[in-house]
């Protein structure tokens, strides 16, 4: 107990130094488009207002971490960004989410095209059980009816970028379920890369994984952020400090979840403007 407390007290300094080591990328410095913008997003489940008025920009080519205690609406928020929110029958929404300036909720928008551009990695690894490792990686092409001429090259490049190639190159014909949890999650990342998304959403991708696998996935995130915008929900503040350029802190005080503060990661962990952010990142609650 006391040891844990000491760790938490020691955390702010170390988190800040971890975040400082990570060179923050400036928005608009790469040719990846203007990125993703959430404008006044509210979300409901039935009559329960779970997310209130989130306005947040994700510049192209940056990594943004969404942190906050359980039930603060960060998973709900990330699911509004590629229209997975509407999968829950009672879900409702207000506000706009713009990809390259166009609202993805605008009437007449083809939702399948949106999800092609904004990929997602889930909390639990979920490779398709009826497919082999190779088929899993390329499944997006079949599912979305995309034509690619050289699928072998695509297969290899996706697995290389997901950091899994060396481990599975000789067993591409095996079932996806034969891999370990961490490998399965990297397989799911490779799968979402095959359809070449602009934005990759990651909903607590490491929460079911051991530290070694977590480390591999963080490496993958750093690698991927060269070519795409990444938004990651995480409960692990060390992880947020290690991988992200920007951090947004979410909180719910019995009411709907709100975004309390956002800014460069180094600033959130060293000099947060809001008292509640400071309390959370120093481990005083949550």
């Amino acid at each position: 107990m006391s040891e844990e407390n000491q760790n938490q007290k020691a955390m702010p300094a170390s988190l800040a130094s971890v975040a400082a080591k990570h060179a923050q990328k400036q928005p608009g410095t790469n040719p990846l488009g203007t990125g993703l913008e959430a404008r006044g997003v509210h979300a409901w489940f039935g009559t329960k207002h779970v997310l209130s008025d989130v306005t947040l920009d994700f510049a192209a080519g940056t990594v943004t971490a969404l942190i906050g205690p359980s039930g603060c609406g960060k998973s709900t928020f990330i699911r509004t960004l590629n229209r997975m929110h509407e999968f829950i029958p009672t879900a409702a929404l207000a506000g706009e989410v713009r990809l390259d300036g166009k609202d993805i909720y605008a009437p007449g928008t083809d939702v399948t095209k949106i999800r092609l551009k904004i990929g997602m990695v889930f909390q639990k690894p979920n490779p398709f059980p009826s497919m082999t490792i190779g088929e899993n990686v390329l499944s997006g092409l079949k599912l979305a009816e995309l034509k690619r001429s050289n699928t072998d090259d695509l297969l290899e490049s996706c697995l290389v970028r997901a950091g899994l190639w060396n481990e599975v190159k000789d067993r591409l014909k095996e079932q996806g379920g034969s891999l370990s949890g961490g490998q399965q999650q990297r397989l799911c990342i490779a799968r979402s890369l095959a359809v070449e998304p602009q934005v990759l959403l990651m909903d607590e991708p490491c929460s079911a994984l051991d530290p070694g696998s977590t480390f591999r996935i963080e490496e993958t995130i750093a690698e991927l952020s060269q070519t795409m915008t990444i938004i990651i929900v995480t409960h692990n503040m060390q992880q947020a400090a290690r991988v992200s350029d920007y951090t947004a802190f979410f909180l719910s005080n019995d009411g709907p979840g709100l975004m309390v503060e956002t800014g460069p990661t180094s600033q959130i962990f060293s000099a947060p403007r809001d008292k509640r952010t400071e309390d959370y990142v120093t481990g005083r609650f949550g």
């Binding site: 590629n82 997975m84 999968f87 029958p89 399948t112 095209k113 999800r115 092609l116 990929g119 997602m120 889930f122 639990k124 979920n126 398709f128 059980p129 009826s130 497919m131 499944s139 997006g140 079949k142 599912l143 979305a144 009816e145 799911c188 799968r191 979402s192 359809v195």
Partner: protein, 350 residues
Amino acid sequence: MSTTDIKIPAPGKPWQASRSDKLKSFLTVISAGIFTFILVNVTPLKGKLAYFILFFISVIVFEYIRQRITRDSQAAKDSVLSTLSILGIVLTLIPIFSIVLTVFVKGYKGLHWQILNKDMALASVNDPIEAGGLLHAVLGTFLLVFVALLISFPVGLLTGIYLTEIRGTLSRPIRFLVQAMSGVPSIVAGLFILSAVIYPITNSLSGLMGSLALTILMIPTIARTAEEVLKLIPDDLREAGVALGATQWRTVAMVVVPAAKSGLLTAVILGIARIIGETAPILLVTGGADKTNLNPFEGSMGSLPFYIWKAFLTGGTEQSIARGWAGMLILLIFIFILFGSARYISGRRS
């Protein structure tokens, strides 16, 4: 100390009953048996039923007393419950074993090497066993079931998909109707086809009509099993499919249904097992034949249930009765193979 110095003990199961415990339980059962024997012989209680009931009551009482003396009253109450559950198993198994044993003992007399090679076109049920066979009946049953399956499987699967994937506003009433339909007596299905198809349209009995009647019985089984199986597929997989830019239809067709493959096969087998022995609707709308008929669209068709029914009803000799039992034996073997493969397939899934 190196690892080679460690003496590895023999693996044991200290939580299991010891040999002396088993011996004591066995002695309890034996003494209950002896007690029953004495009781039946000195009192006016007579017959197998008396033996059966007395034996179980005395096993329960003897075991209760033993546990009460050696342990405590809680253990004694516990022993009553476990003995009662064993009684339940035995009561369930007795009719099953009795039926299977009877069919085997009586049915093997009607078997001969050519039984699956000959039909009854040139033989009557009272002729010597070797004169005919049940080729026409086996082929007829196979065709009836196959055609019924061709119609029922797509309809049942699509119903299951509607109930689990689309979850439309009609889900509740449809689920209710499917459940109600599984209780439809088979004769009603036969009468329905007779009045809705045969009298107004075709005016003749045929294999297809029998298959249609069987379809009515088969769809609810397949639809309900398919629904249960599809429900087991985690939502994670559906979300993963949709998040890759697939439409719902492609996600269902390429991810959900393949993941449920073995369960859907079980649904098919359960559906077949439900209808393979149906007699009443077949008699009504397919009739029966003694000659092999492979055209489901024209003319009556033989089937195993019809074969059994005819052998018992129109015969009366030793041969006809042996034929009937042999038909049952063949039908029973088919059903065993079906259920065995269903269990094997569904067991392999986990």
